[in-house]
């Protein structure tokens, strides 16, 4: 029997409770948490958005 520490000790419960059992994806010898996949996907999404979103042109000038 393991000496399991208490569940995370929070004074208030946040709207999104991330303290439950972690979700993990397995692919061959690769194991990655759902949370980390979300982070990586967000980094990719932000990068692509920054590349593709139109940038405001300077008002009344053609910037030359």
């Amino acid at each position: 029997m393991t000496a399991t520490p208490a569940t995370p000790h929070l004074v208030f419960a946040p709207p999104v409770n991330l303290s439950g059992h972690g979700h993990y994806l397995h692919w061959g010898f690769v194991q990655i948490s759902a949370a980390n996949i979300v982070m990586i996907a967000l980094i990719g999404a932000v990068f692509l958005a920054a590349l593709f979103l139109p940038f405001p042109k300077p008002k009344g000038r053609d910037g030359k």
């Binding site: 709207p15 972690g22 010898f29 948490s33 949370a35 980390n36």
Partner: protein
Amino acid sequence: MSRRAHAEPDPYSFGSRPYDLVKEFVIALVAVVVLTVVLAAAFSSPDVKAMTIAAWATNDPGDFTTTALAELDSSSTTAGYGPPYNSAAQGQKLGPLAIAKTAGVTHPIDTVDAFVLKPLASVPQNPEVVAAIGAWNSANDDQHAAWTSAYSTALGKAGGDPTKVTPGTYGPVPLMLAQLLNQAQAGSLEGQLMSENGFYHSDYTLPLMFLADGSDLAAEAQTQHLTGTQWGMMNEVGNFPGQPWLAPYTFWYQISPYKTSGNGDALVWGTMGLVGAVLVFVPFIPGLRSVPRLVPVYRLIWREHYRKQKRAAEG
């Protein structure tokens, strides 16, 4: 095809636009602070309580006793670690370089003394325990080994439960370890281990090494997906995001030779040192520094500029 580096044009040779640097900074700062406030309110942060030696000893007295015995007979991980704790092993090598050994034993730990004898000596004991400690101190190494070896075998046969050990010739060992268990369960062992360094303590090496020599810390880490074979370095407890940027570091531990080598840690650090050096010196590495020209992300970034240049050339 590599090209010789040549001077880049002046940044303003393509024209300029008015731009408020400080306003951009302020807007970015406000946006980041607002985002942080919202994320922190929505998700909070993890705080799984530390595992105490008292909890370990109370919930798993068998594992505690087995670990304490391993410290006493110098068979624990700490006892056989090598530098910087002792000279029981050589330490890892990076190729021919024995860096760990060269750095030396800077934080000496004698497990018999540190984890068993000193804690027992730090509190008043009843006459039986005093006699047991005296018997241990006056015996020689061969006698020590005989007692601990016999008790280790018996404890193994009893499934790690000291209450189920069959009678045998174990000397003072069972009584010493039972008293150590009492002290641990009462909650005083951490303080005793810490105060070996004096009145003020901020170095948790002894209690942490002792805990890590047992199985329960690793068992909890396994539950939380934090162990090496679980890519644990990237992870955080629960469903919190961890450190995905450590993927390149923890990846090596999943494959041979890093996975199986006795010098695995040193090999990983050596590899990451190389990877880091490559990243630092990208501007000077032919081939690698040409990748941006081959993968045309830059065409997206500067599409307005290229369009203007084309119009100027045509117009």
